[in-house]
Assembly symmetry: C2
DNA sequence: TTGCAATTCAAACAGTTGTATGAAACTATC
DNA sequence: GATAGTTTCATACAACTGTTTGAATTGCAA
């Protein structure tokens, strides 16, 4: 408790290495070498390798979640308990996108770590992600208040698609850049946020009956 | 060459195990035990563990890609070289969704394997996915022909979002079911396809100038 | 049958992994 | 400055990994 030096040196080194090389091929020995501490230090301070990874991920994701809720709460207070759907969606995907995209050379270690965490799915992180449901429910609630005419099903699908676009864009940002030959500028984070929010809003506010019927009418049977 | 028996027994056993337990904790010894063959057989027939995984994944994904292109080609021929955007999008996301969703108890081993492959990202599979760009370009081309007024940037973003919604829904289908308390029915695959296609279509056909500007106007600065 | 190649097999190999141990070094309190 | 508690360290451990080897077996052609 006196000197957290070793502890935080390990955290920093681990985050850096995982960010750069992924979870797959970073061993405890790599981490302690980078941190300049003894091999046994990890198990002494964190219990196990998985608990180290979990602590890293938890720290970063509660920070993001706090930021999300802060934006959400501010928006609902502004609107007297009811926020515009665009603002809610912005609070949902904005912090994550801002945290993970942007010019690569000025991307923080934390950001690069979180990208890794969303690309490579490793057991301790997956366990934590599964507990994120309560957090998402708060957004579902706000969305329901914002769009009282919408059915729950539509709300959940809208939420799902918003997260889908944000996370997939982060995960596959490299591929999108390559595919579009650089025409899609992933460094312009606010543009990305605007695009995601805009599409998610359309998904949530489009004419209710139309959503299913016409799409179905276009169904073609596979020969 | 004479008897592929061992070879295909390995492929089948590996696919089954990976589908059930993920890539993380299935060893060669697990596979050969399940297949009832000798440990050395994997290296004899496939060269290495990674090449075995790669062969599994390639087989399944060329099947999906072929199906996609078949639908796309049929649609474009129907329309004299220009297909409606909904049909193109349906050809893009339909085969994947149909292959991976649907009632769990009647989900094929192949489907469960592909879900795993999209959740756990393992090196040999990632290498293959990176070569999928050429395939996606064909869809970008068809979309451009279908929406000649749209800019390339918008086309690529629409493509990206369509894939995002499809893949994320597959990856997180369990979470969406839990979050919505079963209200979102992921077993009704055609409904899922219709929802994805509908939203992606809106993303691609919404008023051009509006896409960016109004969303930006709603931007709030963090206090 | 004989000969030759393809396949199977048991066994060992070589390397790496996360973790545990017990002694040494340190730190702060009295 | 002795003591008790914390932290560091070198080292060993035990298990597991994918891969290789070389001999046995099989299948097929001449």
């Amino acid at each position: 408790m006196a000197s957290d030096h070793t502890r935080s040196a390990i955290l920093a080194a681990a985050e850096r290495l995982y960010a750069d090389r992924g979870f797959g091929d970073v061993t405890l020995r790599d981490i302690v070498a980078e941190a300049g501490v003894n091999l046994a230090a990890v198990n002494y301070h964190f219990g196990s390798k998985d608990e180290l990874i979990a602590e890293l991920f938890v720290t970063r994701s509660i920070a993001t979640n706090r930021e999300r809720l802060r934006e959400l709460k501010a928006a609902e207070e502004d609107g007297g308990g009811r926020a515009p759907i665009e603002v809610i969606l912005r609070a949902l995907v904005g912090p994550t996108l801002r945290g993970c995209l942007g010019p690569e050379n000025q991307r923080s270690t934390a950001a690069r770590f979180m990208i890794r965490a969303s690309i490579e799915s490793v057991p301790p992180i997956r366990r934590i992600k599964n507990r994120e449901i309560d957090h998402l429910r708060k957004f579902a609630g706000a969305m329901r208040r914002s769009l009282p005419d919408r059915s729950d099903v539509d709300i959940y699908w809208g939420l799902n698609f918003a997260l889908a676009m944000a996370h997939h864009t982060i995960r596959e940002s490299e591929r999108l850049t390559k595919l579009s030959e650089g025409k899609c500028d992933l460094d312009d984070v606010e543009d990305v946020v605007a695009r995601v929010v805009s599409v998610a809003t359309m998904a949530l506010t489009a004419g209710k009956a139309e959503a299913k019927a016409p799409a179905r009418a276009l169904a073609r049977d596979a020969r």
